[in-house]
């Protein structure tokens, strides 16, 4: 062993893999130079049941392969055997952590194909529910990035406030995790009495949280040392690998469906998504912190602008045998992870002919993550994965 290298804390390259003839490294497990490690499918650093097959040399990753298939429930196929209204409790589990965009895109597809106009009040309530969903995700997602570097304190703070937001969800929708609030035609209830005040009380805590987490994470030498320069996504990869949402905005590409293709009431709201150019884990985390801040502001705007009363649901055909004419559509919204869309084909029957979900996790975790992990330290795997906000339930649905 090279003593000089050891004291300089550099990786020992003496037993590194050799170059092969085709330009690829020779991955010869019998050479005793390499180790194969499976991270997942059950691992605290993996946000769900997904597995990374890592080939490591010492603590450096030389090759990574994402394996999925541990969480496949076949929702898209199940929906082909469900009436349109029955798809609605099915679709929410496609992304467990943030169920509301699932409900919205399904409803939007059905409404678009059957030509239903959603009432004004329901549109405001949908916008509110979607922003609340983003809020509760980011309350864990922002401090969760520090959690991957073993700084769990902010995660505890965020989780508490998230629980309060779930209380608000509970009183608005009747459920804490699976809200089942946005359904084809509209929503399932007006705001309860005193909701706005309680929400505002919670938002004040989020304001405080934003300051505290800023001190804890972004002015933290350890976090900066580990996150800055880690897993940089080159700008030309954004299109190549289908990078969306915060990850794209951290690379300087303005990608936010709320702004680029406004839906629901976003055109009436005043907001400017944050972008930066560093494109590393730190930059992506800062983008998320700004997203959280913007979401708080958006919820306040929505509550100020929305009417007090109104129709919550448009009349629909009888849901027991709702037939939608032949057609196809793609409807999308902005989830906390990026553009989240659904492609639906109908054939005039009571069930969708084909449903296909297009979420950012699929490309982020399958194609992009494999590339970003090469040359990274094994201890940074979770950090890189969380910075892409991969959601295994959404990859596999």
């Amino acid at each position: 062993m090279d003593l000089k290298n050891m004291f300089q804390m550099k990786a020992d390259r003496s037993s590194y893999m050799e170059d092969g003839q085709d330009g690829k490294l020779i991955t010869d497990l019998d050479s005793h130079k390499l180790l194969k490690i499976w991270q997942g499918p059950q691992h605290p650093g993996v946000t769900g049941n997904m597995s990374l097959e890592l080939t490591v040399n010492g603590d450096e990753i030389v090759e990574s392969k994402t394996h999925v298939g541990y969480l496949h429930r076949g929702f898209e196929k199940l929906m082909e055997r469900r009436k349109f209204i029955q798809c609605f409790p099915t679709c929410i589990r496609m992304c467990v952590a943030e169920p509301d965009p699932n409900e919205y895109i399904l409803s939007a597809c059905i409404e678009n194909l059957s030509g239903i106009e959603v009432p004004e009040m329901a549109q405001w309530l949908r916008t509110l529910a979607l922003e609340m969903a983003r809020l509760q995700v980011l309350l864990r997602g922002v401090p969760g990035q520090a959690g991957t570097f073993a700084l769990g304190l902010g995660y505890q703070w965020g989780n508490y406030i998230r629980d309060l937001i779930l209380d608000r969800f509970e009183e608005l929708t009747g459920g804490r995790v699976y809200h089942m609030y946005i359904l084809p035609g509209g929503v399932r209830g007006l705001l309860p009495d005193g909701f706005k005040q309680r929400m505002e009380d919670n938002l004040k805590l989020v304001d405080e949280f934003l300051v505290n987490i800023n001190d804890l994470m972004y002015n933290n030498s350890v976090f900066k040392k580990r996150a800055k320069g880690l897993a940089v996504i080159p700008v030309d990869w954004v299109d190549k690998y289908g990078v969306y949402g915060p990850a794209a905005r951290a690379a300087g590409i303005m990608r936010d469906t709320r702004k680029t293709h406004p839906y629901l009431k976003y055109a009436e709201l005043d907001f400017e998504p944050f972008t930066t150019t560093d494109s590393d884990v730190y930059a992506r985390s800062v983008v998320r912190w700004n997203d959280l801040k913007m979401t708080v502001d958006l919820i306040r705007q929505i509550m100020a602008k929305m009417p007090d009363k109104g129709e919550i649901k448009a009349p629909t055909p009888n849901v027991m045998h709702w037939q939608i004419p032949k057609g196809e559509t793609y409807m999308k919204c902005e989830s906390s992870r990026g553009e989240y869309g659904m492609y639906m084909v109908t054939d005039g029957s009571e069930m969708p002919r084909r449903v296909n979900l297009k979420g950012p996790s699929y490309t982020h975790a399958n194609a992009l993550l494999d590339k970003l992990l090469v040359n990274a330290n094994i201890a940074d795997t979770a950090a890189i994965m969380v910075s892409l906000a991969t959601c295994p339930p959404e990859i596999e649905r």
């Binding site: 469900r82 009436k83 209204i85 029955q86 798809c87 609605f88 409790p89 099915t90 304190l153 703070w157 508490y160 209380d167 509970e170 009183e171 608005l172 929708t173 009747g174 459920g175 699976y178 089942m180 509209g186 399932r188 209830g189 007006l190 309860p192 505290n212 001190d215 804890l216 002015n219 933290n220 030498s221 350890v222 900066k224 040392k225 129709e311 919550i312 649901k313 009349p315 629909t316 055909p317 009888n318 849901v319 027991m320 045998h321």
Partner: protein, 602 residues
């Protein structure tokens, strides 16, 4: 890296003095929110077991299981929830046709036996049964199906009050499909319909604009859809599950829509009756009313040659001679009857059993005999003056109107009776008064008070729209006669109809008297059967039950094995019971002739 970056994170220590936010006491319940979707509750007295909850549940968590204490218009089932499958989406609550199913806000439940998590809400008592909070169907215009009925267009009262043109215009295609869309296919109507028609199936055919399929479904159980689509007593609509929160489906008008929209020339092809079997057996049918026609239709399909004996010169029985043309036009009757005749059914008109041919002779000439002779005799009030020649029975008058006989319509008329037949004669005479005198002056009075009148509500309303006076709640006492002509009807106020034991025993307030003027009095208080065609000798073999009705077995077979009876003389009275009886008797006769579970004819 600055010194600030090293020191700032330590500001987190400022929170060390704060109280922990985690709940310190995990044993106290935290109640769910007011809208929380917790465990199911069901008001089993309101629930009708329609099964829409079972149908909409995408997890198949709901099964309908038998219930011990059902009510009328009830499937006799109640939903049982399996919490191994339930996902608490509450679609079952939102779709519930009676709003009986709700969710409580209770969400904790510990049981050792997994089977306990499958229970019938409302039947199996649970701690949260009295819990008022929890998910209920959202208020406002939040419906999964349209509760409002498609309006049916009627002729304006002014246009119809002097003519016998059909007053109900019928649905357009758009209206019919919109109305058919409201059906939840629960099938409660099927159980209630005496003929057990495939109502959800033909409504589905309307939705899919498949009239041929609709007609096939109709003819499976009802060979008189044109007629039933107009004048059926629609017991199905009374129990329609949608009717619990909104307007019941217009099942009757949808049936009419199908029948109206298929040309009679296509019937045989659609119903696949071009070639029929021939069993070389003969059945005689007495009376061409609904039960007789229905029996003839189904017997013909089975290959029997049927002969109907009809006392008048046209077929249809009470449907033709009892129901006014503005409710049931004659061409609609003819359309249904002509199709049945096209199956090879023969009708001998102007032939009365007992006079032209005896019943015993029929028994000898045919393999079996079905009698559906109906209730044609008017029942009298028996009050003073009711034997006057200007005091009529409604059945006689209605028959004369149909036959085109001259009727001397008086300027002032009083009708005694509050049923549908009373309304029929009132409205028919009102039209004739309008034609003759240019004004309507007719009073219909009944023992029953307005809210208890046996007539359909719309009949009363429409009679008033056409200028007739309906003045219920009076007991007729006597008819004043002057110079051989009635001058009016003396009545007293009727306080109650039934005594404490539920027996018919009208109580009157003799101090409150009224006099309804009229030179023509019509009695319409019910009809009786005319069994004079059955000889006394023959009657000895029959068994008679309450109200003089002949007793029959489940196949409508009487004490004489080749003699079957059905229709108004056995059940009802209404058309759909007659049709159901005709079908039932046809199956019974078929079994009897083939000797299946029956002693064959001698």
């Amino acid at each position: 890296m600055s010194l600030k970056d090293i020191l700032t994170p330590f500001t987190a220590w400022k929170r060390v003095a704060k109280d922990p936010v985690t709940v310190k006491d995990p044993f106290n319940d935290r109640p769910g929110a007011d809208r929380y979707r917790g465990f199911h509750k069901n008001d089993v007295d309101v629930c009708i077991g329609c099964g829409t909850c079972e149908e909409i549940c995408e997890n198949e968590a709901i099964d309908l299981v038998p219930y011990t204490d059902p009510k009328d218009g009830d499937s006799g089932l109640r939903p049982r929830v399996d919490y191994g499958r339930c996902c608490w989406c509450a679609l079952c609550v939102d779709v519930c046709t009676t709003n009986s199913l709700v969710l409580s806000n209770e969400y904790t439940w510990i049981a050792v036996d997994p089977e306990e998590y499958r229970y019938t809400p409302g039947v199996d008592k649970k701690a949260w049964d009295d819990n008022e909070k929890g998910w209920k169907k959202p208020e406002g215009n939040y419906e999964f199906y349209n509760l409002k009925r498609e309006d049916m267009e009627h002729l304006h009262p002014e246009d119809r009050s002097s003519s016998f043109v059909e007053m109900v215009k019928g649905y357009s295609k758009e209206q019919a499909q919109a109305e058919a869309d409201r059906c939840v296919e629960c099938g409660i109507c099927v159980a209630t319909c005496p003929a057990h028609m495939g109502i959800p199936e033909y409504i589905k055919a309307v939705r899919h604009d498949d009239m041929e399929e609709g007609l096939r479904v109709l003819y499976e159980t009802n060979p008189l859809p044109e007629i039933c689509g107009r004048i059926c007593t629609h017991k199905c609509e009374t129990v329609c599950s949608i009717g619990h929160k909104g307007d019941p489906l217009s099942i009757r008008w949808l049936k009419r829509y199908i029948a109206d929209n298929v040309e009679s020339e296509k019937y045989k092809e659609i119903l696949n009756t071009v070639d029929l079997d021939n069993k070389d057996k003969k059945v005689a049918i007495i009376g061409s009313g609904p039960s007789g026609l229905s029996a003839a239709h189904y017997l013909s399909l089975m290959g029997y040659s049927c002969t109907i004996f009809e006392q008048y010169d046209k077929a249809g029985g009470m449907m033709r001679y009892g129901i006014p043309e503005y409710r049931l036009p004659y061409d609609s009757i003819d359309k249904d009857i002509d199709y049945i005749l096209s199956l090879g059914v023969e009708i001998k008109y102007n032939t009365r059993i007992g006079k032209d041919i005896t019943l015993d002779q029929l028994g000898k000439d045919f393999d079996a005999v079905f009698s559906g002779t109906g209730l044609h005799l008017g029942r009298g009030t028996g009050i003073d003056g009711s034997d006057n020649e200007h005091v009529y029975f409604s059945t006689d008058l209605l028959r004369q109107i149909t036959a085109g006989d001259e009727i001397e319509v008086a300027e002032k008329i009083v009708v005694i009776g509050g049923g549908n037949v009373a309304m029929d004669i009132t409205r028919s005479l009102a039209r004739m008064q309008n034609k003759k005198y240019g004004k309507v002056d007719i009073i219909a009075t009944s023992l029953e008070r307005e809210e208890n009148m046996p007539a359909d509500r719309e009949e009363v309303v429409e009679a008033r729209e056409e200028g007739a006076t309906v003045n219920p709640g009076w007991a007729p006492q006597s008819i004043e006669i002057k110079d051989g002509v009635p001058t009016g009807l003396n009545v007293v106020q009727c306080k109650s109809l039934f005594d404490d034991t539920g027996r018919f025993n009208p109580q009157c307030n003799m101090d409150n008297k009224r006099f309804f003027e009229g030179t023509m009095i019509v009695q319409s208080i019910g009809q009786g059967m005319d069994l004079t065609y059955v000889s006394e000798e023959f009657k000895k073999n029959l068994e008679f039950g309450p109200r003089g009705r002949v007793q029959t077995n489940q196949h409508l077979q009487t004490g004489v094995n080749w003699f079957f009876m059905g229709g108004d003389i056995i059940v009802g009275p209404d058309v759909i019971h007659g049709i159901a009886d005709g079908h039932r008797a046809a199956i019974g006769i078929d079994n009897f002739i083939q000797g299946i579970n029956f002693e064959p004819a001698k």
